[in-house]
């Protein structure tokens, strides 16, 4: 399968003296769950927007397989933090929306919607409306909608950032289950270190001023979760905690350097 890749991409927003992204390269392979982790301003949202096609690079290029990414497309579905479901459609119709746009017959697309809603543990919610759901349920619908269409990549823009800690952990476990069953590559951005460590097969650490990748690692904790270990056991494992502190220290180091350069 094709690789989604950014090759030396740079983005500079008008009116800002430092580029939002500077010569960033990243490949997302077919079986990856890649997480970009960093504080605000590190360019992770810009990177996601480049992959989605919402933003065009000022330098470098984004490719999906052979084709250059020049705009949003149905092969790359995005899950937003909030505000992206259509409140005038019920949950089933929201999930089936992408298929409707592609002209899939009603019975077929609704059957597909029900199937995906079962996958995200929301089998009963089909006839409800997004504004009647909790934040966690809404995000499940968002994930279901992205899965229902035949996209090859899920781009997730801080999908659990607005949820409370308990719901967030549930959603992380759900995401790993979905990722495994739906066999869809995922690129997720977050500023939550634990979330990044727990989910990522590949973790890219980003730092601001200018936005860039400062470290890439393969934590391997999500494989342990898939092998049957519990989320709490993994997150309280000394190896997990040590890595968490190390990443935090790296981020603080980079911030200090950036501030010294600025001063």
């Amino acid at each position: 399968m094709a690789i989604l890749s950014a090759h030396k991409v740079s983005v500079r927003y008008p009116g800002q003296d430092r580029p939002a992204l500077s010569e960033v390269s990243l490949d997302i392979g077919p079986d990856d769950l890649t997480v970009a982790l960093g504080p605000s301003g590190c360019g992770k949202t810009t990177l996601l927007n480049l992959f989605a096609g919402f933003v065009q690079p000022d330098g470098g290029e984004v490719r999906f397989g052979e084709a250059r990414v020049t705009g949003p497309g149905a092969d790359r579905a995005v899950v937003f933090q909030h505000d992206a479901l259509l409140p005038w459609l019920n949950v089933r119709d929201n999930v089936a929306f992408g298929l409707r746009l592609q002209g899939v017959a009603k019975a077929e697309r609704l059957a597909r919607a029900d199937e995906v809603l079962r996958l995200v543990d929301l089998p009963e919610a089909g006839s409800r409306y997004s504004w009647q759901l909790s934040g966690g349920q809404r995000q499940r619908v968002g994930i279901a909608r992205a899965l229902a269409s035949h996209s090859q990549v899920l781009l997730m823009d801080e999908p659990f950032g607005a949820l409370d800690a308990f719901t967030r952990e549930q959603m992380q476990e759900l995401l790993l289950k979905v990722w495994q069953q739906a066999r869809r590559r995922i690129f997720l951005i977050t500023h939550d270190i634990e979330e990044a460590l727990f989910l990522a097969t590949e973790l890219v650490l980003m730092s601001p001023g200018p936005g860039r990748i400062v470290q890439t690692l393969r934590p391997g904790f999500s494989q342990r979760y898939r092998a049957g270990e519990s989320a709490r056991a993994i997150k309280s494992d000394p190896a997990f905690i040590a890595l968490r502190e190390q990443l935090l220290a790296t981020l603080f180091d980079h911030r200090r350097q950036a501030e010294e350069i600025a001063a």
Binding site: F54, A74, V78, D83, L85, L101, Q102, Y129, R145, S149
Partner: protein, 293 residues
């Protein structure tokens, strides 16, 4: 407006609930109050104020202080309702006057919606269209329709066209402004989500932009209808032979005060019904309005 008040009241109530109830309150005051009053409090209060006005009117007209020429009794107006709706006034029954007025406003509304929504969408999505159209709309919108009525008469004569045109202009501006506002406010995330699901530009318009702008558009129509209906009386002063405005106007010339009051009451009832109908429509078509975070 009403929905806003309502949610504000609810929001304040939510705050109140989060405070602990003081212990010294007697148990009875903490229990829910009589269920014939509390849930319908607003309705009862409205009824009380309406009855007070009616009672005052009745008392005043029966006291002999005010002669019936100035203030006919309520029952006289009610009796007139029967005569006017069966025998008519100025060669037409009440229903014919009503039908004439409703026909004008419906025609004007249809034209305003058919022209106003596309123009509003255009202004909402295109800065060029906004730049071109905005000054025109803002220039004529604040002018009272009565002020440009004479010009319309000079240009289009005193036929039906002038009357419908005047109401149309009154409805058009709020529809365009509300539509463009609603379209410009469509959530970027929803647009982007639809794009990544493969939506074309026209699909974005039909499946995302228009549904999301719908509550605003309906608000614009509601405001426009209010303005349009009040412009109606003015429009029907222009040599009409039918219509509620004409009926009131000619009754006033002959000092038939009970018909004047009757006409005003019917105009008020229709205005209220239009407002209520559109609110219901809005709640029906856009139940999510005001529920989003």
């Amino acid at each position: 407006m009403n929905a806003l008040e309502h949610t504000l009241e609810q929001k304040l109530a939510d705050v109140a609930i989060s405070k602990p109830v003081p212990d010294e309150l007697p148990a009875s005051s903490r229990a829910p109050r009589n269920n014939w009053w509390q849930p319908y409090r607003r309705g009862w209060l409205s009824l009380i104020s309406l009855l007070a006005v009616l009672g005052g009117w009745w008392g005043l007209s029966h006291s002999g202080i005010v002669p019936p020429l100035f203030l006919p009794a309520p029952e006289a107006v009610l009796a007139k309702l029967v005569t006017v709706s069966t025998q008519g006034f100025m060669d037409a029954t009440l229903w014919q006057h009503l039908a004439a007025s409703l026909q004008r406003i419906v025609l004007a509304l249809l034209a305003a919606v058919l022209l106003g929504i596309p123009l509003g969408v255009l202004m909402g999505v295109s800065p060029v269209a906004r730049g071109l159209l905005d000054p025109l709309i803002e220039a004529y919108r604040p002018v009272p329709p009565l002020a440009y009525l004479p010009l319309i008469v000079i240009w289009f004569g005193i036929g039906e066209l002038s009357k419908v045109l005047l109401i149309f202009l009154a409805v058009l501006a709020p529809v365009i402004i509300a539509t463009s506002h609603g379209v410009a406010q469509v959530s970027r995330n929803r647009l982007r989500a639809a794009q990544t699901l493969g939506a074309s530009r026209s699909q974005l318009l039909w499946f995302v932009i228009l549904p999301e702008a719908l509550p605003e558009i309906l608000t614009g129509i509601r405001i426009g209808l209010g303005t349009g209906w009040s412009t109606l009386v003015a429009a029907e002063l222009v040599a009409a032979t039918r219509g509620l405005g004409f009926m009131v106007q000619s009754a006033a010339q002959f000092l038939v005060t009970d018909v004047v009051i009757l006409g005003i009451a019917v105009i008020a009832v229709i205005a209220f019904a239009l407002e209520l109908g559109l609110r219901l429509l809005q709640r029906r078509l856009a139940p999510w309005h005001g529920q989003l975070d």
